[in-house]
């Protein structure tokens, strides 16, 4: 409370959302004006491993973001920061990410300090890597098969095809296969394929007879 005007800090409009403006206003006793002081030295130590139940990721455990489409390709970060779909390879760092328990963002293993980020501060449809800033356009939760942010935008393969080098972007949730993902933790990744499955690294379906036609 300000000592001269007795105005108090409040969340503008009472909107409990990321980046919502905070202002001063005449005291009215509403929840949007209520706060508590949490002294940093009284806080519990931050967890460094295990599942973050709110966000759906394990902490400090590298993973691949694989499409649920038949190729099982994975998201890869290019040196220019853009994200594309590529064939998965074990221990390939540009394909590996980790959830930051501090910033609540998906950070790159190959490019530490950079996270998945909706370009133009969330105004673009493109997803890329950018310096971690923990703003709303870098924060995604796992919800079922989707990676969704608080404005309902999900990570998707653009162009509706799981081709090599398909661009990764953001779209409204429409339950499309191109929006569905598997978080494959690197320490559990087994790249073997059952009979009848496509081996994406060879582009051939396992144990399925075929003819070679001239």
């Amino acid at each position: 409370m300000n000592y001269k005007t007795s105005k108090v800090l409040e969340v503008a409009g009472g909107k409990d959302q990321e980046g919502q403006n905070v202002q001063v206003a005449k005291k009215n006793g509403s929840t949007q004006q209520k706060w508590r002081i949490l002294y940093a030295d009284k806080m519990k130590a931050r967890a460094t491993k295990g599942l973050d139940a709110e966000w759906g990721f394990h902490l400090n455990r590298p993973f691949y973001i694989r499409t649920k489409m038949i190729t099982g390709r994975t998201v890869e970060a290019l040196p220019n920061g853009n994200l594309v779909l590529r064939t998965i390879f074990k221990d390939r760092k540009p394909q590996m990410f980790t959830f930051s328990g501090i910033a609540k963002t998906i950070e790159s293993i190959e490019y530490p300090g950079k996270s998945l980020d909706i370009e133009e501060s969330g105004k673009s449809a493109n997803l890329r890597l950018f310096k971690t800033n923990a703003r709303w356009f870098q924060m995604f939760r796992i919800k079922g098969d989707y990676l969704v942010n608080e404005r309902g935008l999900v990570v998707e393969i653009q162009g509706n095809r799981d081709n090599e080098n398909s661009n990764i972007g953001i779209g409204k949730l429409r339950n499309a296969k191109t929006q569905q993902w598997i978080i494959a933790y690197a320490d559990e990744l087994v790249l073997s394929y059952e009979p009848g499955e496509l081996n994406p690294q060879f582009g051939i379906i396992v144990e399925k007879e075929f003819s070679i036609v001239t």
Partner: protein, 243 residues
């Protein structure tokens, strides 16, 4: 020039309202708790109260019936230009009408009805002290704090009970809205954000300036934009004004 030994106190002067020869601070009731301080040259301004600060100490002299400076005990509160100005200063004690003040309720009143007043009503560092026609607003209301009853300022880690915050102890401010987000900064602007480990979500109370500062930008304090005219909050270069 300072006095050598302690003054011999003689109890309350009921007509003037001051204890005789008992040093005191003159503290504004505007809210900040700033006190009147003697500047070099003798002018009087408002400054953060300094525990034990002799430039902010005065005492009532029963001989001249004036309010004397503890730092310059041959000088008294004095309306400049022999009472023709509105400015207050300290000047060589002469006991004339423009150096004689009484406590009346919360005001310090001259016999011609002029009262001690913070110019412009601004509770800020260096605000000038004047005399003005009585209107009884907060900038004319004062508290006499006797030095022997004054409490030392809280040190690092101790509670400042007036502000309700511990000195220089980092804290977060957690919203009571459902998601329990923290107060954070985007640039200089205050916003709500999911807790993270960044310094932009950490704050501390600075005893010297009596402001809440950002751990990420420790030269900046909470600030109501537009010098208090706006409702928007930001962090800004610390000026210790009421906003």
């Amino acid at each position: 020039m300072c006095e050598d030994g302690p003054l011999k106190t003689e109890g309350l002067h009921e007509d003037y309202g001051f204890h005789i020869n008992r040093p005191f601070y003159i503290v504004t009731k505007m809210g900040s708790g700033r006190a009147i301080e003697v500047q070099e040259g003798g002018n009087l301004v408002l400054k953060w109260k300094k525990y034990g600060g002799i430039s902010q100490q005065f005492f009532f002299d029963n001989v001249s019936k004036t309010i004397k400076s503890k730092q310059y005990p041959d000088k008294s509160l004095d309306i400049q230009s022999a009472g023709r100005s509105s400015n207050l200063q300290i000047w060589t004690t002469n006991g004339r009408w423009f150096e004689v003040f009484r406590i009346k309720r919360e005001m310090i009143v001259n016999e011609r009805g002029k009262v001690l007043d913070v110019a412009g009503g601004e509770d800020k560092e260096g605000a000038n002290i004047i005399v003005w026609k009585m209107h009884n607003y907060k900038n004319q209301q004062w508290k006499i704090v006797y030095v022997d009853e004054d409490k030392p300022e809280p040190k690092k880690g101790e509670l400042n009970s007036e502000f309700g915050l511990y000195v220089e102890r980092e804290f977060h401010i957690v919203s009571n809205l459902k998601s329990g987000r923290y107060l954070d900064l985007i640039g200089n602007d205050m916003v709500l954000k999911t807790p993270n480990g960044f310094d932009s979500q950490k704050w501390f109370f600075d005893q010297k300036t009596k402001t809440i500062k950002s751990v990420g930008q420790p030269d900046r304090s909470w600030d109501i934009q537009g010098s208090g005219k706006s409702s928007a909050m930001q962090v800004w270069n610390c000026n210790s004004s009421w906003w």
